[in-house]
Amino acid sequence: MSIMDKINNLDRRIIYLLAWIFVLFPLIFPLGLPIPISSDARSWYNFVENNVHDGDTVIFSLMYGTSGMPELFPMSVATMKHILQKDVKFVVLGFWTEGPLVFNALLRQVNPADYGKVYGVDWINLGYIPGGETAMGALATSFQNSVAVDFVEGRPLSDFPIMDNIRTATDIDLIISFETGTPGAPEWLRQWNTAYGVHIIVGCIGVSVPGMIPYINSGQISALMPGLTVSAEYELLLNKPGLAVAGVDAVSTSHLLIVLLVVIGNLAFFMTKEEKK
């Protein structure tokens, strides 16, 4: 069996082992590769910096569960830190069952109280609302009818000063949505952007990025954070390197492995084809 045949028939566990090595090595021994800042990171940073004004009301929506945490959690933390630097009111809610618990994990990283934000006055957590797109539509027409009590204290919304001026979608200036699938951006666009003109920025996993591009092109989504690498760039722009920056070296080496394997696999394919001819 020629070496190319051996490559074509390589035991996949060797490939898995290579994947482990290429990922674990830079995590144990950081390479410190420079991270160039992309236009995506700058767009997101500039939007939050220049288009989120003091006094705005923002929805901060974690539309993902534990499966999406590795890729979306770093950008959620970084964006939360950015938003907390501004004098905005924000409402935390989600339409994924694990969203509230993911937010609890975020609170262990970023405490709004450290930025002088008071719960119930500057921010509120409305928790999970079942029903997917139907829930998004219901929430847009009436917050108070869709959500009876807040998630943290279990008290009626009327007890919290922040909700005095938040009744419908027209009271919201921006939606920041981090998502892995459905419900997600298309549902936000249908129920909030098209119906009420609310601006939306979306942080999503890489798999969802190709589907978001037409919305970016048409201006329906104002900014996009596409995956872990851009999260790292955003953390650098904020001068708050975190989990994303810590993982980018491993992104580099893992992608290097993929490219090498594709090249080797195709070389083996073509050389085997030549031999057979």
């Binding site: 074509n8 037409p214 696999g265």
Partner: protein, 205 residues
């Protein structure tokens, strides 16, 4: 009933009829409750399947037993009875979520990274022109997402952005428009009562 529910949402959106808007709003909130009520459907289905396996002692029945045990624990500790110390703040519920659900959920989908790696060498071959285009654009995108490449060859960023914003955008826009037309057609067929596939089951047509 489907037609009524649909029209109840569509008509108030285009016509300003306050009474109808209020009814639609209440109906939407009622639907959220109806959806939440379905929560035990999954639990009962899982319990039925796996209880049968335990009862019949089929191969791997002890794993089914494990499933049943954890379903029961999570359901019981998660019941919204804060007065009895149960619910989302229950320590057992939270411990299981934090130390079992969270790692398992994150790990399940990350396994695909290995399968993609294996596919890269075994399946991702330029057998014809179309495959070659996928291969080249895919490889360029992979390189454009990794600082190790973009630092050495900065033009890769522009190339990957071009692939994303031109051919990918064209593809997705075309698919999106087609899918929107398809969705409208399906909705109209459902409203006309032609499409009733979602109501099938139970041994009847």
């Amino acid at each position: 009933m489907t037609i009524i529910a649909t029209l109840l949402q569509v008509i108030p959106y285009y016509f300003d009829i306050p009474v109808l808007s209020n009814v639609a709003s209440t109906a939407t909130n009622a639907v959220l409750l109806i959806v939440a009520c379905a929560t035990f459907v999954g639990v009962i289905s899982v319990l039925m399947v796996h209880a049968k396996r335990v009862q019949r002692r089929t191969e791997g029945w002890y794993f089914s037993g494990l499933i049943i045990v954890f379903v029961v624990i999570m359901v019981l500790t998660g019941l919204p009875l804060q007065e009895f110390g149960l619910g989302s703040k229950n320590s057992i519920f939270n411990w299981i979520f934090t130390n079992i659900q969270t790692p398992l959920g994150g790990t399940m989908y990350s396994i695909l990274a290995f399968f993609i790696t294996s596919a890269a060498v075994r399946a991702f071959k330029a057998r014809n022109i179309e495959a070659a285009i996928v291969l080249v654009s895919g490889t360029l995108m992979v390189m454009g997402n990794a600082p190790i490449f973009t630092n050495t060859v900065p033009v890769l960023v522009d190339i990957s952005l071009w692939i994303r914003n031109i051919p990918n955008m064209a593809t997705m826009r075309g698919v999106m428009i087609g899918a929107a037309l398809g969705a409208v057609a399906l909705a109209v067929r459902t409203l006309m009562g032609i499409e009733r596939g979602y109501l099938r089951g139970g041994g009847e047509d």
